[in-house]
Amino acid sequence: MGEFLTGSACFVLAMVALGLVRILRGPADADRIMAPQLLGTGGIAVLLLLAAATGAPAVVDVALSLALLAAFASVAFVLAKGSPAPGKADEP
Amino acid sequence: MLQAGGSLLVLALMLPVIGILLIMSLDARHTGKIALALMPAGLAVALAIAARVWTTQAGLEYFIGGWAPPLGVALRADGISAVMLVTTSVVIGAAGLFARAEFRQPDNQPEARAPLMFWLLLLGIWAGLNAVFLGGDLFNLYVALEMLTFAAVPLVCLSGKAETLAAALRYLLFALLGSALYLLGAVLLFGAYGTLDIALLAARIAAQANMASPVWPLALWVALALMTVGLLAKTALFPLHLWLPPAHSGAPAAASAVLSALVVKASFFLIVRLWFGMLPGLTPWLGAQLLAALGAAAILFGSVLALRQARLKLLVAYSTVAQIGYLFFVFPLAANPAASTASAALAWTGGWMQLVSHALAKAAMFMAAGLIAETLGHDRIAGLGGVARVVPITVIAFALAGASLMGLPPSGGFVAKLLLLSAAVSQGLWFWAVVMLLGGLLAGGYLFRVLSPALGPLPAGWTPAARIPRDRQAVALVLALGAVLLGFAPLKSYDLLQFGRPAIAGAVTR
């Protein structure tokens, strides 16, 4: 069972990696804003699977914090781009 | 080693911290008073520690919370810690007196930024310095180094001028690189030896060497190299000195004094702790020569650049770059496998004398330079004409401090350089001796450039930009006199530097 859960975590991580490549390449900064979101959700999935696989309940707390802070980082992303400094407009 | 004297070590470490917490929570008008009240107390504690080390002829040790290393953290004070603690409280106290009027909270007005920040940061530097001089644990020392950095960098840009901001940023980046490398080295040592306590590390490293393993563990070499380079960046040894001149010349005079006199010495102190304390009798010979070569380059390069400066504070800052170089002669001279114990001890004493006398002289010099700049409204060397007629005490302080830097008898700088020189000559290391003599000549050159116009006639129709109160000039003079009078210290008192020192000469790996 543990082996299967770890394998699933591995699969999720690989998917996150693929998504991350697409997101970080842009082209617009708005696309890149999705990176922490993706890692927030993907990371939570990986962590929850790992918590079950290794039987370490405290790992769930890490997933919880990750969820909270990924959301927080996204808000900051949006706000940071909401007041662009001159000459910092996104490329089309 | 006794736990009883340990409460003194805790007190030395915590007095400045208490000051920071008090200033942060109390009303603004108490700011300067709290800081100034703590300074004599700190000096008393430092003197008590020195007295204790002197009478017991051994180091003090305290295990915090009663938890012995490797699990807990030890504070230790040996002879050199005691000397550094006393020097620190003297210079910090002098800087406090010097800055008292400049950084006074205005009466019956809202709190001002600069005074509050100055006193908090000064206490922060003091806490960091004491933590470095007392620390017995590599990670605890990392935190102490960071305290120093975080207090020193904002002091550099206290005025908020653009050029000081750039200088502070450059300083911070160098310092952060230095601490990261230091931390990495400490991590490797923990991985290899399972402790961060310097004394335990020394024992475990020596035990390994005694097992006659011909090849030293690579971990030790890599760690030592990383930590040394990191600390050199913080000490501003050539060629990692680029950050120092703009940073030290841009800060307020009282802060420059502390930065140049003490802060760069803290990381030097740690290098000595590592090379002599952690590797007693095992100091790598080639590395020691390399450090001395960099020191020699620093002396020549720093002095020549000091000669070329057009501004007084920059000249004084480059002089620090040069004077730091002398300190590094301790490594080959005090750890020379071929040297007699007496010759090694001469070099060891000479190195610390250089450190203390430079601390006093440079603090005095930066204060004097600051006062001269205040009087004239600028610090261009070309416009110093006749300033000795306006602020004679200040110029005398500058000249006395300069005499010690040049190594003129009977100053402390003279004794320091004489000891180093005779150690170099007795060990047949002529090259270092020649560099030291050259450095003295060059120092004479750059100081002549300042003193010659300063003693000349006043330009006609000149009016001072500010009047300088006598007491501020007196502070600079007392420090400069201290640097000179150090040369009269009785020979017996030098023994203090040797207490708690691991035997260093004799057994060196090649």
Partner: protein, 310 residues
Amino acid sequence: MSAALILDACLVLLVLAVAVWTIAARETFPAIAGFVSYGLLLAIVWVRLSSVDVALTEAAIGGGATGVLLLGAAARLTDRAGRRPAGIGLRIMAGALCLAITAALAFVILTLPDPAPTLAPQAVAGLPATGVGNPITAVLVAYRGIDTLLEKIVLLLAVIGVWCLTPDDSWGALPAPWGTARQDDAIVLLARLLAPVGVVVGVYIVWVGADDPGGAFQGGTILAAMWLLVMMAGLIAPLPATSRRLRRVLVAGPALFLAVAFAGFAMSGDFLSYPPAYAKWLIKLIEAALTLSIAAMVGVLVIGPAVRKR
């Protein structure tokens, strides 16, 4: 090869790839997006290294606070790197140096002594004297409490340093970290929904810290994030550097810690020692006070100083 090892290999490759992206990206903004991802990935690395406490810290700091700090700066700085990278010679030399250091480190790591030296048995043996069940909390508050105390002073000095960068004419003014960003209803809604949950999570993480992974720093940072979120949404105003209330909150934790440390002299003979009967109670009290101070410190550090009046 087990599934676990494949997972580890994937994770390592991903972390390294994101790090390369962060260094190599031309523009600053994508580099920082990469860095935030790096922080979140490291949290998973820490779980794999059986350091759940560190994972919590990394998630809070690497992914959260540091990321927000860098993003805020990147959005405001108009600087761009020059068209051609400076000094190809420097880059080659730096590359060679860094490669050498990496190689040396790798060699040292692969040849570390086996069995590895460890302090785990001693740390566990000391636990009864501290009354806590989480050995990491015991290290942080008891065995090596001095590090934690001085680290709080480091944080305080960083706060002072950040305040020191206030222009003189703005001393006492409110910091405005997010400029005059148009306040969306969505953010206000998020703040109203998320902040109470976050506060509960933060307090919970501090509370369990005595016996399970968690503690003052991790919890305090989550509280700080929630404080920042509510300020971002414009629901409450930031506090100025001159605020007495703010300063007392900043100082409360370290001051209480220091007071208990000195009381140790009288109560059990040593600075920073706890009488066994009250140890757990005292440590919880210190953690609670530290949490508040840490939340305030992290918040202030992220908000930054008041900027020049225009």
